[in-house]
Subunit: 356 residues, 4 copies
């Protein structure tokens, strides 16, 4: 599986970036990755809770990096941030991100949003799944969905990138090539996902206490998890018809990682080599997609801390069904790493910069 | 949800029992449960590896129980054991269990087998899934499948009980009532299961080392796990037609527990209350089945160490599909606890004896 | 190691008990143990947070027990509870427990307090370690320290029992026999303890989130953890001189369990057999103390879910030092189990009742 | 805490290196770090078990790196390896490493040994702690102990570097400055350490199975763990007198990390600022030593995956004792990372190259 990143790096210039809402797990991971990115100058990180503290104080694990003793968390001020940074990452809860995006975009900054606010185009779907009206409906449909393997070209010019959720990333990347090649029965897609606990964010709730999660596993959000909205919208765009799928997430006691298993009914008999060809064609040159050889299964420990997605598939001759399996690190390829991959695309840097 | 165990206990007599192959996790759990069962006299435990050592030495966690300092592991000798014990538990690997069962049954003992050897009736299916001929084909079809909630009456008279596997228990108990009531589309059943690591037994292999399992999760055995053989045979018996299902197990980093999620297409529209009625009718009086109220999800931590199975269901109006979810402790309801439940039925003891 | 509990059980009578503050981990474990205690009638459980809900609703893991569907959490009302229950367990935070104890005792009930409020006799020490004045100083010195292996006789008549903390239990039981026999250099005792996360209680704080504790371990509370106050007071009482020790607790990623390692300088050379004799004399007949044979080490998995303490020791000829090691389940022998052991003593029941 | 690595990097040249015994956790981590080191050309990796397989096949987590599909494991052949590589890392079990070192050194290669074989100078001590004669006694005393913070200058010219064990690293770095400044009572040093399970290596033994380690913690190797030999020898060299210490390791359920707590009696009263000065003087410019500010405690999660050691200290006025605490990643600063740090020193590369 040869992988070559052919996009040329843009000289030695640095891009000024800011992270708004940098105190959660996604924000922390963003900071980690940005600090070691050679084309990035991190000019601001914000957090209401930690305003005034240095990055080293808030994240002791980074305290050996000199910049972290100087860089202080500030209150989030969109106007000022928009003047200081060229690209701004929003790592805020959904609903709040949209409010920040608007003034930032108006001020001319480019925005990479890691919340759910701009992942779906339809105001109706947003209301259906998030339980309230979209705060800035005029921006709906203005964002590019931040899956570089699918929307690389659009991302390169985007003003506003909506980074996919962790579950959607693990589901869409294995599924889309099959949808594109019209081999999947679109009415019968079922998905089971397993997520480590950091997927819930740094939420201080009883459900996520160590003693509640350790030696525990549980399905949740059945039958209508919020991420369905963006998964189905993306599938529908690709298929040019309305697609509804089944999706069951489970919470599992490990820190990082998602395992997704997808059941696909094939529209007609197709041999194993053809499936392999479809994936090789789609992802053979992608630096972050590993197509696993026949005998291997995805395992979260092989992708933890990386921006990789491992994809495997098996045809079941007993049921004529295809089983797709994938694994990602929910905080990297499922959030911050993918955001930086988008950033690299937007700025014309080598796509793997800061990520390998 | 009222649960009453109405089967009368048989006086104060004790039954002499032996455990053959008591050194694995299933065997250890059997010993734990038998030691505190008031109608049991544990006369022998065997293990080639530990012959000569006391139970207290092999399992330090039980060393405070006086019997464990006296009871010594012996070499397994079917003839002698058959004379000393009335009921014999086989906690051996598949293939080896069958060899022991034959002389024991011939000698007049009743046998409760926890291996896979007698779970399926068809010699052909056994060979297909286990890769070799059945060692004692003349006994195939002589065993009762040890799911008391389904086969209680047959178990009470059985000479040979084949205890179900852990995955099958978690799958069959939620599914069978729907099959019986003919509401499930039998051609379209899909199952995803998650298992803790003790489900692999005390296998000393690299795959099960702590550092390989912790912070790891992975599908395996796709698409044709061995347990499919007994699941499909049981479903087919119930449905009186050949049923093939999809089944994907996953290994997850916790000690004990299985979570199973089952996708069922309904043959016709059916309201939620009817589903509830089907389960209430099937299990309303069962002491070990908990039907979870609407807002609850199964969680392994609620059944760990118990013989309970938690069952929940949701109807998805978007897909017209029913999602069944269950949780068990793989070593208890999925193995040793269920074996003792069968034992209680066979001996006419209160079914919950030693299990609550 | 023969263990016999010689205390006679008191007929078939049941004792009415209540648990105040039953919503934390200690309270939940108390409820679990009390529900299966054959001489207990649990008449009330209280919790401000859960008032009105049934025990089955709050603790789904107990929902198969019929009583749990009937018993509802109530607001804590000392006067009324004192009339309904003979013995009342307080599983409240320190400071609040003392306020409840006073009216209950005045009303004639006997109280078993699991907080730190009555574990120390000195108002000065309380203020030094807990940072505020004792709320009911007139009760200081009125409680019996609830270590049955040490104070069994006093506990049997006590009106107010102060159950030891989890760390103190794991430290005092190994140490006190050596102090009593005057073989330990009291000026040079050092203790290191490791605790599972449930030891912090059901505190909803960022520090105890799964993703903060998993793959983490850390010392804390150095050099002056609160539990030092009761450990040192107990040691001083025994030694009849003021003793100061070194104590370092660590937080470790598992649910339940404490491992304690104690370094003891001997006052004079003493052979290994003498140490063994001291422990056999102290604990040879104790049902919950297991003195581990020479080659064994304590392991939390051997005591999890039980009221046992495992104790081992090694003499180091290179340093002339004795190393003591112990393990307990912090929620059982370190809290709720020990409280029930005290209860059994207070009521003259078999001491192991409901605990084996 | 400003940290600057002032050692100049040696141009753009690459050094040819080989790893002998690359199939364990330490070997895997070495390969991971060497693959991304810009001044390294990894010319060979050996493993009897995996000879013929590619690195990508044996370690799927690295399979996206192009070199890993080409580089194949070979049988270890010291003569040939000595000709192909300038510096050779030995990641073999103790005893076997020594046998390889001799021909390699004779052939002119420089050797970085990660086993225990050359960590101690005394043949007598080796026999005492390892239970057999040293296989190549003529090499004893020829190695430099690979703690760059202490022996940087000697390492730079060394032919044979003996990398310290994981426990010794976590113990010696906090202790040595105090020994050097003569403030510690050398007769009274006690150490407690906690180690994650990868510290045991990829040993396929029942003790390290997931279900035996998860929800378990246990002391072991008391009172005379093998690592005492090198700890005491190093302390004695520094102190110029024979030092004996107390050391108790514990096995704890996490993958990576060591926490060490050290108790030091001071020879005379000394104020907190003086201790801080001692550490600032010793490590203020060290790139991999973080001296934690007053309120912080070491936590393995802050060093996992890095070559850092976090060091904290507290003075206890109640006992006049100093408590030192440290954390490292046992596979990085405790093994492979430190080996590469030594490699960087030996080759005159920037010391942090490939490690930050």
């Amino acid at each position: 599986m040869s992988k070559t990143a052919k996009i040329a790096a843009a000289g030695g210039t640095k891009t000024k970036v800011a992270v708004i809402g940098a105190s959660g797990y996604v924000g922390e991971e963003l900071v980690r990755l940005l600090l070691r990115h050679q084309h990035v100058e991190l000019v601001a990180v914000t957090s209401r809770q930690f305003a005034g503290k240095t990055v080293a104080e808030v994240f002791p694990r980074f305290s050996h990096l000199e910049k972290t003793s100087e860089l202080r968390f500030s209150e989030p001020d969109p106007e000022q941030l928009g003047q200081r940074a060229e690209i701004i990452f929003l790592a805020l809860p959904h609903g709040r991100a949209a409010e920040f995006a608007k003034p930032l975009l108006q001020g001319g900054a480019r925005v990479i949003d890691l919340s759910a606010d701009f992942r779906i185009e339809s105001a109706k779907t947003y209301r259906e799944f998030y339980g309230h009206d979209h705060p800035v409906p005029e921006l709906l449909g203005k964002a590019v969905y931040g899956l570089p393997e699918i929307y690389r070209k659009k991302i390169s010019d985007a003003k506003l990138v909506a980074c996919p959720g962790c579950y959607p990333t693990s589901i869409l990347l294995p599924l889309l090539p099959l949808v594109r090649e019209k081999v999947a029965n679109l009415a019968r897609i079922l998905v089971t996902s397993l997520s480590g606990v950091s997927g819930a964010g740094r939420k201080i709730e009883a459900d996520y206490l160590f003693a509640e999660c350790n030696e525990s596993m549980r399905p949740y959000g059945v039958p209508k998890h919020r991420h369905l909205s963006e998964i189905e919208e993306q599938l529908s765009v690709f298929a040019r018809e309305k697609i509804t799928i089944q999706f069951t997430p489970h919470l599992v006691p490990l820190n990082r990682g998602i395992i997704t298993t997808i059941y696909v009914d094939l529209v007609e008999k197709i041999d194993a080599d053809s499936i392999t060809s479809i994936y090789e064609k789609a992802y053979g040159e992608e630096p972050f997609v590993r197509l696993l050889a026949d005998e291997l299964f995805p395992d979260t420990k092989n992708v933890a801390g990386t921006n990789l997605i491992d994809v495997a598939w098996r045809f079941d001759p007993r049921t004529d069904r295809l089983i797709l399996m994938s694994s990602i690190d929910n905080l990297v390829k499922g959030a911050s790493g993918q955001a930086i991959q988008c950033f690299n695309v937007m700025r014309g840097y080598r796509e793997t910069e800061g990520l390998l």
